[in-house]
């Protein structure tokens, strides 16, 4: 707990410093914090700020391009035109990048027309109100389910590790299982460690659970009634272990006495029975000398310049405390663990990340927005909830909807003694009672405002006196009598005009 606090404090200080640097460079505070979130370290920022844009070479596009305004007036023009467009920042950035790339064509009128066009396109792409976005998301994720593989184990990325993929993994994610069937961590390292294979390996050995059998042999000596641990000096050195350390750890087995002789350790049980000896042997074999007990294996992989550790097993809180671990980029695939350690927003992002990865790996193209909606539904009340009876679906407001999903009878019995009221706002409820659903076209209330042309024979519209519905439309213009048996002619039927 204390460690956690310390880390936070340190980070905070660094952040503050970086922010100050940015602000002194003339960046508004909001942008500054955005940049920081994107993992810009103070050093990197200073470096970028110091570097003048190389002439000729395409400028380093990034969040800082507008800093070059003084050198190239065109930048200023672009910036002036784009910085306050009502668009998402990422899109603004892309517009800027593309305009800079085609500088030779960008006369002011063209730019204005182009940007106006872009804004129009963006507006046109907005969701329509009343859109049933939930169903859209559910279908978009569910529909490709049949195309996914069932194979639980597959080798992806890291050949040495087993990873659950395909449909089982998606099910696992939406089930919000406490422990995934194949927990895996991706550990990134701090700059001092990440470029050095030796250092990375040392760190890997620190994280990986080390058992006695990893550094030596264990045998029983029945006549002495002792357990003999013969340590291999080479393996010990590799793992930076010393015999006394091992002895100390072995000494933690209750009711024993430990005896160290060079690389040999003898463990004597207090009682001389063979059974006791075997019991101690089992304890010794299961005991971790070093590392994280839940992490069985660590694999080192080179990714570009740096070394990254992949683990079989996961223990985020412990790993984050280890020196040399880049806490900003290290992650686990355990959603609950992430929620506990890094908070619910991190868990949400992890759900999105994991689901996207799984779908992409299968070659399925699903828009992130759908996945985001599922993730938000699962996490919106502050804790990770399952998509299913014990989570989202079970906590719905409507009794009928819950009854139609699972455990029908109990839902009804409970609703009765609680005196629940079903407001019939959702989809299933209204299907059950047989009335239109308040979603999509069913959720539009105002159809048209009627106005009567002067000189029309149609009687004026009754004033809005709180009567719920407009009267049936007046008789049609012709001389034919209105159909007597048509009480519910649609309200939109053309009136006199």
């Amino acid at each position: 707990m204390a460690d956690k606090k310390k880390i936070k404090k340190k980070d905070f200080k660094a952040t503050k410093e970086a922010k100050a640097t940015l602000e002194s460079a003339g960046i508004d505070p909001a942008t500054a914090s955005l940049l920081l979130r994107a993992n810009w370290t103070a050093e990197a920022l200073r470096e970028t700020l110091a570097r003048p844009p190389a002439p000729g070479a395409p400028p380093a596009w990034g969040p800082l391009d507008h800093l070059a305004t003084e050198e190239r007036p065109f930048y200023k023009e672009v910036w002036r035109r784009t910085h306050d467009l009502p668009l998402p920042p990422k899109l603004r950035q892309e517009l800027r990048d593309q305009m800079l790339r085609h500088e030779e064509h960008m006369t002011p009128p063209i730019m204005d027309r182009f940007l106006q066009h872009a804004v129009e396109r963006y507006r046109a792409s907005q969701v329509e109100p009343c859109e049933a976005v939930g169903i859209l998301a559910a279908q978009s994720i569910g529909e490709p389910g049949t195309q996914m593989t069932m194979r639980t184990f597959h080798y992806a990325g890291v050949a040495e590790l087993n990873v659950t993929l395909g449909l089982p993994r998606i099910i696992e994610i939406v089930d919000a299982r406490r422990i995934p069937s194949t927990p895996i961590m991706t550990i990134h390292l701090t700059p001092e460690y990440r470029y050095d294979r030796e250092k990375a390996r040392d760190l890997a050995l620190d994280i990986e659970a080390t058992y006695v059998t990893d550094v030596g042999d264990v045998s029983t000596l029945p006549d002495e009634a002792a357990l003999l641990v013969e340590l291999d000096p080479r393996l010990m050195a590799r793992r930076h272990l010393e015999a006394p350390q091992v002895a100390k750890r072995l000494g933690q087995i209750p009711e024993t006495r430990v005896e160290v002789k060079g690389n040999q350790i003898k463990v004597h049980p207090k009682s001389k029975s063979y059974r006791a000896l075997l019991k101690i042997r089992d304890r010794a074999l299961r005991m971790t000398l070093k590392g994280t007990s839940s992490i069985e294996r660590v694999v080192i992989r080179r990714e570009g310049e740096e070394y990254v550790l992949y683990t079989e097993g996961s223990d985020l809180p412990k790993v984050l405390k280890i020196r040399g671990v880049d806490t900003t980029r290290t992650r686990t695939n355990n959603i609950y663990e992430t929620a506990e350690v890094l908070g619910i927003e991190a868990a949400r992002n992890l759900i999105i990340h994991e689901a996207t990865e799984t779908l992409n790996e299968q070659g399925l193209d699903v828009d992130v927005r759908h996945i985001m909606l599922v993730a938000d539904m699962m996490t919106s009340d502050g804790e990770v909830k399952q998509i299913g009876r014990h989570g989202v679906a079970g906590e719905k407001a409507s009794v009928l909807s819950r009854a139609a999903f699972e455990v029908t009878v109990n839902q009804l019995l409970d609703a009765a003694i609680r005196g629940d009221v079903d407001e019939l706002k959702g989809v299933t409820e209204n299907v059950i009672v047989g009335q239109p659903i308040r979603l999509g076209t069913g959720d539009v209330e105002l159809v048209a405002k009627r106005y009567d042309r002067p000189g029309s024979t149609v009687p004026p519209h009754p004033p809005p006196d709180g009567s719920d519905r407009p009267a049936a439309p007046p008789p049609k213009g012709g001389d034919t009598p209105p159909p007597p048996k048509a009480p519910d002619v649609p309200a939109a039927a053309p009136g006199g005009s």
Binding site: V133, Q139, D367
Partner: protein, 883 residues
């Protein structure tokens, strides 16, 4: 026809005995149903006041005929109260938490406040079930040895499933020692529950206005109306009663016997037995799957389907009858492809069209038209029914058609038959996404054809093929429904999938190979050929020829003809699908509606991938895209017809020397495998990190054999000519892959189960053809033969093993992904994008503040992007360059 009335809410609660009596139309006293004449007995289970099911009779309560009368409840007065099984646990918790003497809840004020808080918080989230709250309250209350209100010493109440309760003998207890227990009768329980004050019940989360706990101990049993348990008459004239009626008969019989015995002053033991029997029958009446008691059975041994069973499960009332309803005005039949139809059309067999109708209101404007329709009667494009002013429906027949037609007047309603141009909904199950139901325009197919037809370009969204698939058709009956169908659900509206923002409708199979044949290389056509290619498209004139050949004959090129169906301002460039096969393939360049170079294949017009298609939908609109698809599908099958396109067994032939090379490659691989096995046996194989020796060997062998198959495949590939129809299909993306082809021509390769070589079977070997312990290629499922050369016996077995795994996998996957989808839909179905851009559920709880963080609808996006900036800018640059 939306009714202005709307149910605004439904309140749930328990029926109190008073209410049961109030709503009851009669007391039921006799277990008999009908007398000798087959007439329902008064105050029997089939009393006519409970409603009627037999035709010709009228309900004695409301006077309604069968179908009109909804049925009315009756009641049975139980001689002694019994527990309602569904609430047995709740009753137990309340008993455990309340004082045995004063029936007050045994909690301190602070504890009460705490639970009231919990209940209040839970009323919005429903995170806790009522069971959980009751359990927690009981846990705290049971810690009290004396009642905090009256000081009475408490004994432990023990609940025994399903409906028994025992209490410690507090009276005989000495110094807190337990001295045994006695049974609590439902009568005692009811007394206690009655005394629990309302305010105490609220602590449990119970609502005393809708559900007093003593109402869960039944004194009066409501008897459901006959309409809920109709008896059926068998052809022998014998009546067969519903399961519920059987159960009610049991209850009434026992109730009567109980009554008699009680009045006769029978011994306590007998009374208790009867009481338990009554409890059993009432329990099974409610739920016949209670654990701990044997289910009530029919004479045949089949367990009875009682109230709970009717509601539960997939075919139960909720999921089977209420969430899913059956509809009229629908049809279902086998589907077949019809490349002659527009993508927005559906071919409907005449026989079906005559049956399906659309209601038309007769107005002065359409009077004559409708009259003609009625006159045609049930002949094609006629009408089936008229509804007169007195709202009587009359069936139109050959005989009365003329008469009805003359009588026809404004205000009548006519059910006219389906005709060309009507909008209908078309659907294929499983309906996994919204494109599984789309609206099409009807094209009646005259004659005796019996299948639905549609353009095969619409197969992908429905996931349909024509190997016997059936599809459903629905006819919207109101203007509103038709408007929605036309505007929102039409095929062209759904070309772009909301899943990824790309086209999901597009050319498949022959469309792709056809256009490939037309546009690949320098295909030249005579004027006759060109006209043939264009004849079904909407291209009005044959353009001037591209050039003249050596003989001075004018010719038209395939690319030129394809260009005719492109929008004239379309410009695009991209890599074609064949680029993956042939690196020298030219980039496709379309400038101002002219295909300048490159080949049209899956990457241009295919479903999911078609770039040209994609650009047309997004920049020229859905209507233009529909036109393009119609033209492209019509045009594409022509080259196939003209040039011929078939794939036969001789197309898998490869030259003898290639065959020899393949044999060599495989022999080499086999010897390498032998060497690997020998090395591992000799302990010379170094295990890979984190793997055992065994696993390492397997991986290496798999790698070796995989490489061998690939090499064999490459040899075959080199020897299959690019004009080979199989190759054309594979490289253009029309169907199949090069892997499939090389499996046919060269070598099938390793068969696997769970990603490993096949290793199970007989003792230490897979098949008796091999030596025990043989790990060689052949004995573990490597198929060196090609499909064409034919598999030998062992290879055949291994192939069947691998194939079976695939089948099992598919079967398991469909059920799993089906359940996943159901859960996702259930969890997310109520979410809606609101006018303020937020996404909320029914309670108004915000799930997202801005949909998808940028408010962009994926269906309107360009593969997820709101604006395709490079493309947009390119358009500007192109315009500038033109000038």
């Amino acid at each position: 026809m939306t009714s202005p009335k709307r149910i605004s809410s439904i309140r749930f609660g328990l029926l109190s005995p008073k209410e049961v009596r109030k709503m009851s139309v009669t007391r039921i006293i006799t277990a008999d149903t009908y007398d000798e004449d087959g007439f329902p007995i008064e105050m029997g289970l089939m009393d006519q006041r409970l409603g009627v099911v037999d035709p010709g009779l009228r309900c004695k309560t409301c006077g309604g005929r069968p179908g009109e009368c909804p049925g009315h409840f009756g009641h049975v007065d139980l001689v002694a109260p019994v527990i309602h099984v569904g609430y047995a646990r709740m009753v137990a918790r309340v008993l455990q938490s309340t004082c045995r003497k004063c029936s007050r809840l045994m909690l301190d004020p602070e504890e009460r406040a705490k639970f009231k808080e919990v209940v209040k918080a839970n009323s919005t989230t429903q995170a806790l079930t009522i069971d959980e709250i009751l359990r927690d309250v009981a846990k705290d209350a049971m810690k009290k040895k004396q009642c905090p209100s009256c000081g009475e010493e408490q004994g432990e109440v023990r609940f025994e499933k399903p409906t028994a309760y025992f209490e410690d003998h507090v009276e005989y207890r000495k110094e807190g020692e337990k001295v045994g227990e006695h049974k609590l009768t439902p009568m005692d329980i009811r007394d206690r529950l009655e005394r629990v004050p309302d305010e105490d019940l609220e602590v449990f989360g119970l609502n005393p206005r809708t559900a007093r706990p003593e109402w869960a101990v039944l004194k009066v049993l409501p008897v459901p109306p006959v309409t809920t348990r109709p008896s059926i008459t068998l052809e022998s004239g014998q009546r067969s009663e519903d399961d519920l009626t059987h159960k009610l008969v049991d209850i009434i019989r026992i109730n009567q016997r109980f009554q008699e015995n009680k009045e006769a002053g029978a011994p306590q033991l007998i009374i208790e037995d009867l009481w338990e029997l009554l409890q059993y029958h009432v329990t099974t009446f409610m739920d016949n799957e209670v654990s701990g008691i044997p289910p009530a059975r029919h004479r045949s041994g089949r367990p009875l389907k009682t109230l709970s069973q009717r509601l539960k499960g997939k075919e139960g009332r909720f999921r089977g009858s209420l969430s899913g309803k059956r509809v009229n005005f629908s049809a279902r039949t086998v589907i077949s492809p019809d490349p002659g139809l527009s993508i927005s059309e559906v071919g409907v067999p005449e026989e079906i069209a005559r049956e399906l109708t659309i209601p038309v209101n007769v107005t002065p404007r359409n009077l004559e038209e409708v009259r003609a329709t009625v006159r045609r009667a049930t002949k094609s494009e006629g009408a089936n029914y008229v509804k007169r002013l007195d709202s009587r429906r009359v069936k139109i027949t050959e005989k009365n058609a003329e008469e009805l037609a003359t009588q026809l007047e404004v205000g009548w309603k006519v059910d006219r038959q389906l005709r060309d141009g009507d909008t209908v909904l078309f659907n294929r199950q499983p309906s996994l996404h919204r494109m599984s139901i789309m609206s099409h325009t009807v094209r009646i197919i005259p004659g005796h054809h019996k299948t639905f037809r549609f353009n095969p370009a619409v197969c992908p969204p429905y996931n349909a093929d024509f190997d016997g698939d059936e599809m459903n058709l629905h006819v919207p009956q109101t203007e509103e429904a038709r408007a929605e169908a036309k505007i929102l659900m039409s095929v062209q509206e759904n070309i772009l999938s909301p899943r990824f923002g790309g086209p999901i409708i597009g050319g498949i199979h022959d469309h792709i190979s056809g256009l490939f044949l037309l546009t690949h290389g320098d295909r030249r056509l005579t004027s006759e050929g060109a006209v043939d290619i264009l004849r079904k498209t909407n291209v009005p004139h044959l353009p001037p020829p591209e050039g003249k050949d050596e003989d001075g004959q004018p010719y038209w090129t395939g690319k030129q003809l394809f260009s005719l169906i492109l929008p004239p301002t379309l410009s695009i460039r991209f890599k074609p699908e064949i680029a993956g096969y042939d690196e020298t393939a030219q980039e496709v360049i379309v400038r101002n509606g002219v295909l300048e170079q490159g080949t049209i294949d899956e990457a241009a017009v295919g479903a999911f991938k078609g770039k040209i298609l994609d650009k047309i939908v997004k920049e020229f609109g859905r209507e233009e895209a529909r036109r393009f698809l119609d033209n492209a599908t019509q045009m594409s099958i022509r080259p196939i017809m003209r040039m011929g396109f078939s794939f036969g067994i001789s197309d898998e032939d490869i030259p003898r020397d290639a065959r020899a090379q393949i044999d060599e490659v495989i022999a080499l691989a086999k010897s390498k495998v032998e060497k690997l096995i020998a090395a591992s046996d000799a302990g010379e194989l170094e295990p890979m990190p984190g793997r055992t020796l065994e696993e390492t060997l397997e991986m290496k062998i798999m790698q070796e054999l995989g490489r061998a198959r690939d090499r064999a495949g490459n040899i075959a590939e080199k020897n299959l000519h690019p004009t080979n129809p199989g190759v054309i299909m594979a490289v253009s993306g029309a169907r199949g892959s090069m892997l499939n082809l090389t499996q046919m021509a060269a070598c099938v390769g390793q068969q696997s189960v769970r990603g490993e070589r096949i290793s199970r079977g007989y003792y230490k070997r897979t098949l008796p053809h091999f030596k025990q312990g043989d790990k060689g290629a052949e004995s573990r499922g490597f198929i060196r033969a090609s499909y064409k050369s034919g598999l030998n016996a062992t290879e055949y077995f291994f192939h069947a093993i691998g194939g079976r795994e695939g089948l099992v996998d598919t079967a398991v996957r469909t059920s799993q992904s089906g359940y996943l989808q159901r859960r996702l839909i259930n969890a997310l179905q109520d979410l809606e994008a609101k006018y303020d851009g937020t996404v909320r559920e029914t309670r108004g709880i915000v799930v997202q503040f801005h949909y998808g963080e940028d408010g962009v609808d994926p269906a309107k996006s360009d593969y997820g992007k709101s604006v395709n900036v490079p493309r947009l800018l390119q358009n500007y640059v192109d315009i500038l360059l033109e000038e």
